[in-house]
Amino acid sequence: MSVLTDLAAALAGGAVEVVDLTHTLDPDFPVIVLPPEFGQCARFRMEEVSAYDHRGPSWKWHNISMSEHTGTHFDAPVHWVSGRDVANGAVDEIPPEAFVGPVCVIDCSEGAAEDEDFELTVEAIEAWEAGHGPIPADAWVLMRTDWSKRSGAEYLNMREDGAHSPGPTPDAIRFLIEERHIRGFGTETVGTDAGQGMHYSPPFPAHYYLHGAGKYGLQCLKGLDRLPATGAILMAAPLKIRNGTGSPLRVLALVPKEGA
């Protein structure tokens, strides 16, 4: 167990830093917006049950409610129609080792700053690999856009023709799945797909291909600029919800401190 002993020492000594990649669950944090005739993603809500008062003299607690897909969250394969028959596709069935693993971060922040509909392409992935080496199998791949620094209306960036935010092309997602055998894909935006992702073929390609292939999605991540391109370990364990299609998360990364 010397690996863990070393890790403990590294954590205690500051050689390995724990980075929080999670947005605070807040009633006013945006969620994905579907056409209004569809049921919507429930916003996070919190009701006080007692606060050291007549409702409970010594304790304070809340009832909370939300969707499986509210805030920084996990998408399981059964979330999408393409993944409905995937083995162990619900959050309670996914083997726990899937929740801890290596992570590659592709920095698209410059492109996203110039183009709110910025696309992550196969070429861009290959260009990244040219600098950082090939994406290893079973790794998380995160698309850094610095989108999590946006707030309010800027975040969904909703217009009359829908939301505008960056995301992967269908080919890029297929490349990551079929050529690089990734574990899953994560973004700083409200979904793994681009804001205009419904106009691709197939619509919402990230959801469609990832989950169809038994891969996982992470959304609404925060602060990906604090991660190295490679070398960090990501911990993203969903709540163990029976037949759950996703779960709010506390996403942490173990990051080796530079120079340590």
Binding site: D28, R43, G152, A153, R159
Partner: protein, 416 residues
């Protein structure tokens, strides 16, 4: 001529707020007929079904023929003001705080004499018309008005006690995203409201009329999501002490009843907004409003709920929405009871189908935002508790009063 009401001066922060008091509120059961009529602003008296005698005060038997069939009917409100007094001393706290108080005897063309409140512009011996309004205790009372309108008539202090006139008052409209929000804001400003706050949920999501609202002078958009307790509490903390009229126009509506929906997702939204939203607002804003019932010219005066008339009887095509409105209607009665000690009234404005995206398949007539806004302002000016907005609502309540079971059967269809 009535002196025009001046805008209230800034409050003296060293002066204790006036404690709300109420006029005498106990009535016999028979006299409550006046209250029921006043809730809709109707001047009604007991008419003997057998001999036609119109009588007042309300009785349990006809004073002419001893019949006990005494229906309340709309009555000719004209009469002559035969005596007037100005009460300058009263052992009742409410009136003690408000003397001098003009009271008079009116001989009605319909027969009886009544003792009533008297508008300052009524001349002794002149023709007057009576109105029946709710006083601050929520009971029907009669007031003599000049036969013809006079300048600044609504500013008469006795009349203003019986109304919830928006003039000089500050209004909160809870949901900017509703189609009717701009029309409501406009109508209230036109009616003299000093300021209109409009609650805005999910500012991260654009909506069409935002620019229109933001451009209105004396309109302030403030964050408010009635499904979020924290947000409601935060806004109440900010403006709860200066919300004189609260208009709860937040609404979640989707077509559908039970089988077609097959789940409770929309139903939860309907309950979250239409029922629990009202509850959250009431818990956050109600206590402060109740305590400010006597706070001068711009005292807290009214709470308005915009409801579906199908709160009375379900429309299966909108079965779940109607159920949430029935819940809200019931809760509004509890709210009425809890606001009453402050003299703050609860006005429910009932509409039929509204002109919007969610009633596309419903044939006209449908209620427009402007019609709702007009009904709200008129209802506040008359101090009503029940407003029936539009032909469908009026028709439905009439049928409901005739026989709720028959109406239910009619609405639940299944013919052919």
């Amino acid at each position: 001529m009535t002196d025009p009401l001046s805008p209230p001066p800034k409050k003296n922060p060293q002066k204790a707020q006036r404690v709300p008091t109420l006029p005498p509120g106990i009535r016999s059961r028979a006299a409550m007929g006046l209250t029921a009529a006043a809730a809709e602003g109707r001047f009604m008296l007991q008419h003997c079904a057998e001999c036609g005698t119109v009588q007042y005060p309300p009785r349990d038997a006809c004073c002419s023929c001893l019949s006990t069939k005494l229906p309340w009917r709309d009555t000719d409100p004209s009469g002559e003001l035969i005596a007037v007094t100005v009460v300058r001393a009263s052992p009742n706290l409410y009136f003690r705080d408000r003397t001098p108080w003009r009271t008079g005897t009116v001989r009605l063309a319909a027969g009886p004499s009544v003792v009533c409140h008297v508008h300052g512009d009524c001349e002794k011996g002149a023709e007057v018309r009576l109105i029946n309004r709710l006083d601050r205790a929520g009971q029907g009372v009669l007031m003599a008005l000049p036969k013809e309108g006079t300048p600044n008539m609504a500013d008469d202090p006795e009349l203003r006690e019986l109304t919830a006139d928006p003039k000089h008052r500050r209004v909160l409209i809870t949901d900017a995203r509703q189609d009717n929000a701009p029309a409501l804001a406009r109508a209230l400003l036109d009616a003299g409201a000093a300021q209109v706050f409009v609650g805005e949920a999910e500012g991260w999501r654009p909506y069409p009329q935002r620019a229109k609202l933001a451009a209105m002078e004396h309109v302030t958009l403030l964050p408010l999501d009635v499904t979020d307790t924290t947000s409601v509490k935060e806004l109440a903390g900010e403006i709860g002490g200066k919300t004189d009229i609260l208009i709860n126009n937040a609404r979640f509506v989707r077509p559908g009843g039970l089988f077609e929906r097959g789940d409770t997702t929309f139903a939860r939204e309907e309950m979250e907004v239409n029922y629990l939203g009202l509850m959250r607002l009431a818990q956050a804003f109600g206590p402060a409003m109740r305590s400010r019932g006597a706070d001068g010219v711009n005292n807290a005066v009214a709470w308005v709920n915009l409801l579906s008339v199908h709160a009375l009887s379900n429309d299966p095509a909108y079965g779940s929405f109607a159920a949430s409105n029935a819940a809200a209607l019931s809760l509004s009665q509890a709210l009425r009871a809890e606001l009453r000690p402050g003299g703050v009234r609860v006005m429910n404005v009932f509409s039929g189908p509204t002109e919007d995206d969610w009633h596309q398949a419903v044939p006209p007539p449908k209620v427009t935002p402007n019609a709702v806004a007009r009904a709200v302002v008129a209802g506040l000016r008359d101090g009503l508790e029940e407003v029936w907005c539009g032909d469908v609502a009026r028709d439905l309540v009439e049928r409901w009063r005739q026989n709720p079971k028959v109406l239910e059967r009619e609405l639940t269809g299944g013919e052919g």
